[in-house]
């Protein structure tokens, strides 16, 4: 169940066998400390150092299919852009304890035949939780390699049955200043909004994430459920999702609204299209010293380049 594989997913993004072997071992151990992925949220005891060491030790042998080393768990959970909890990189880890990821309700609506309001457990039912190791490239020119747990977004899109006129999917983050103190400040317009073209959203690589490193998603990483689109800049991966709507028109995502000359709707990782203020040709992999070249579509060009054939990526950045 936990390690189910879908035949539709190309082998290139499957988790290598050693992860599964490793994972079985891990699940056995984690049951003892109560860190299963059975949606039992425990955010309060998450930062425990002992657990952190345990996780790092257990996953340190795991590498993604390109033999890239995983970014340590401590870095993945302490260096975050999540402006709902402050604009500093360490703010989310420090301030996100006020978020209550359970109970959690997600609304599915817009142009679809099967809209509905779901409790989190019901919302994720169509998907099978599986491991996927993805590169994450931030628009700020740093990157990580992260072992997520989740499933293809397509599963919940299929259940919603989008109507023929639906061309885009729009997501919204929770808008609650009590739980997200950073929303007191107008640095961005709240709630945070992101969107995908329907074909991008249905792509098997596009993932809804409920866990990282085999444990439930920490608040600072977007608990209880977030989006990951590995060939796009990190800000497309909207966190703490409460709504999902099918639209005919392209939604205006938050960063595009904030500075449309710098952040577009597509936000595909592209070393040849610089941000107006800095180069995107290279990136710093967290944990590495020398910058490494940024790959087209973050290294997922074989899988996704066809989505953009005929488009001028300098205009549709």
């Amino acid at each position: 169940m936990l390690i189910g594989k879908s035949k539709k997913i190309p082998s290139s993004e499957m988790t290598p066998e050693n992860v599964y072997i490793n994972r079985r071992e891990f699940i056995g151990k984690s049951a003892a400390i109560g860190a299963s992925t059975s949606l039992g949220w425990r955010s309060s005891d998450f930062g425990g150092l002992r657990e952190r060491r345990f996780l790092q030790k257990d996953w340190s042998k795991v590498r993604s299919e390109l033999d890239e080393e995983l970014t340590p768990f401590g870095d993945v959970t302490s260096y975050n852009n999540f402006y709902e909890f402050g604009t500093g990189k360490s703010d989310p880890a420090r301030n996100s304890h006020s978020l209550k990821p359970r109970p959690w309700t997600i609304e599915v609506g817009g142009l679809c035949d099967n809209p509905g309001t779901y409790d989190l457990a019901d919302f994720i039912k169509p998907g099978k939780i599986e491991d996927r190791v993805y590169r994450m490239r931030c628009v700020e020119a740093w990157s990580m390699v992260i072992p997520w747990q989740g499933f293809s977004l397509k599963n919940v899109i299929d259940r919603a049955k989008p109507s023929g006129s639906a061309r885009f999917v729009e997501f919204q983050t929770l808008n609650d200043v009590e739980q997200m103190p950073g929303q007191r400040y107008g640095v961005l317009r709240w709630p945070y909004i992101e969107g995908l073209r329907l074909d991008e959203a249905q792509h098997p690589l596009t993932m809804l994430v409920t866990g990282v490193y085999g444990t439930t998603l920490p608040n600072q990483n977007g608990a209880p459920i977030r989006l990951i689109v590995p060939w796009k800049y990190g800000f497309k991966g909207i966190k703490s999702i409460v709504s999902m709507r099918f639209l005919e028109q392209m939604p205006t995502n938050t960063w595009k609204r904030s500075a449309s000359q710098e952040y577009g709707f597509y936000a595909n990782v592209n070393p040849d299209v610089p941000h107006p203020r800095w180069s995107q040709a290279r990136e710093r992999r967290i944990g590495e010293f020398r910058r490494r070249p940024t790959l087209m579509f973050n290294g997922y060009a074989d899988e996704v380049a066809s989505l953009y054939s005929g488009m001028d990526l300098r205009i549709h950045y």
Partner: protein, 215 residues
């Protein structure tokens, strides 16, 4: 020399020693703090970026405080405070140089192809680099010998500190993504300092301003 004037002078000397100690303490604290965080692994997941940004912050604070000294003297009438202006400015230049070196050596690993592209094509890096270059002659001519040699021209040359610091604030403002709180504060301060300075210059030279304020 009477006893009382001697007492006054030694008091003054003591105060100067204290001021000098204070300047060195204030000037070295950020460096010690960064080294401490480096040695105890407290710089976070992206230590190079953290060091780069903190050095930039610190140099801008020192430069803004340096430019605040003359207005501070004007407002409070505390003439001695001018003695700490030069060391403050030099610490600002020191941290700015460290900021640039961190960028060039640690962040860009001396890949000159990329550094040159950044300096020429990324406006916020262009102006930040310009600010550093502008401050080099000021740091060089900060010695007593140069002050004597340049005479009146020294003062004009050192007005470049306003231009360099303004460029530094613009560099700071330009590189943030959305949260402009601190850059805005820095911008308000530099505008206030320049307004104060321009108004002061219009109503005469500094000693006269001081005179008029005392009465």
């Amino acid at each position: 020399m009477t006893d009382s004037t001697f007492g006054l002078q030694s008091k003054k000397r003591l105060r100067l020693i204290f001021l000098r100690f204070f300047i060195w303490f204030a000037g070295m604290t950020p460096a010690v703090w960064l080294v401490w965080r480096l040695l105890t692994d407290q710089l976070g997941a992206n230590p190079i970026e953290e060091v780069l940004h903190r050095l930039g912050d610190v140099s801008l604070v020192f430069l803004l405080v340096t430019l605040s000294i003359t207005p501070l003297r004007g407002i409070t009438g505390w003439n001695e405070v001018i003695k700490i202006r030069r060391p403050l400015g030099l610490f600002g230049f020191f941290y700015l140089t460290m900021h640039f070196l961190t960028y060039a050596v640690l962040d860009q690993t001396l890949d000159f192809e990329f550094i040159i592209e950044d300096v020429l094509e990324r406006p916020y890096i262009t102006i930040g680099f310009t600010a550093w270059v502008l401050l080099i002659p000021l740091a060089v001519t900060s010695t007593k010998g140069w002050i004597r040699r340049l005479g009146k021209r020294w003062k004009n040359l050192h007005r470049l500190a306003y231009l360099a610091t303004t460029l530094g604030v613009a560099h700071f403002y330009w590189q943030v993504k959305a949260d402009t709180y601190w850059p805005t504060l820095a911008a308000l301060l530099i505008v206030g300092l320049m307004v104060y300075r321009i108004r002061g210059n219009r109503s005469g030279s500094w000693p006269q301003v001081l005179q008029s304020r005392k009465h």
